[in-house]
Subunit: 127 residues, 3 copies
């Protein structure tokens, strides 16, 4: 169900895209009740002029290594669950891949459960 | 009004992108009351490591031919209309282009009618 | 907070991507209460077959110079604020960069304030 879009600049995280994606996926399972194997991601790299960020907004010091993670998922997660998700993604990207926690930008877009078809033209989550 | 993003892997659906998009467009008109000529789409192809999918989630057997269709549209369609849309897209992509119904992944993101400007800096759908 | 995706065709707006983005950013500050320095954008150029548009929907005459601007932001802006945003973006892109107002397509996707992490794995806008 979650559809994850991950965007970062070219030449910064060479070959790390799939590892970043895998950490996002596992963190969703552990914090926001995403089912096992529900893993769909689009990972895009951009030239410097294709990914714009502010290096200091809210006092956070971002670098060209910024990673923008936008997750479309079903509504219903609590704020505490969302906080746990942000924290786990950030910590694991730092601990396992050495990325800066200040470079991890996350946004969630929530939709209804009947807004998905996983194949066969069927709305698998609709009642 | 719908803004359609279609993503798939490179080298799989050569030159089929626009035909896939046209089927999505016509299916929206016939099932979810999208107006004639309201056709805006972004179609992107990705290297293998840029589009991640699970090959068996929910018992559906996906291949590298997976097509991810994300549609942003106005809220208000019923679940039955959404189901009809998924079914028609899937059947037509299979019948007209020979694609596997198991490879068709669809997600809807709903917004308010005042959330669109189609040109001239005006919110054409706002009251 | 706003995450801005800007898409247009290659070879049309050479080197204008960042200027277009800067106008969208400044217009958000002046019309829809976006904080200063809250600037995060993904700008993508597409081959002709990767960006489909209707050249006449709603009587607006679009060209290959069409610019699709999709903004994910917090809910709560009034319709009047949204209208002011569309108008300012369109007018400035026309006046400052010579773009056609008929080529400016804008869509807003609204989310809750706890749906963002700007770094450090923290939900900075959650209460």
């Amino acid at each position: 169900m979650p559809l994850v879009r991950i965007d970062f600049r070219k030449g910064i995280h060479n070959d790390l895209g799939n590892k970043i994606g895998a950490i996002v996926y596992r963190s969703m399972i552990e914090t926001i009740n995403v089912p096992e194997n529900d893993n769909f991601q689009i990972i895009s790299e951009h030239e410097a002029n294709g990914l714009i960020y502010d290096p200091n907004y809210l006092g956070i010091h971002r670098s060209n290594g910024i990673i923008i993670i936008q997750v479309t998922l079903n509504e219903g997660r609590t704020t505490d669950m969302k906080k746990a998700f942000y924290k786990m993604v950030s910590e694991r990207l730092h601990q396992e891949l050495g990325l800066s926690k200040e470079d991890i930008f996350i946004n969630l877009v929530e939709v209804k459960k009947e807004n998905w078809s996983f194949g066969h033209g069927v709305a698998q989550y609709a009642q």
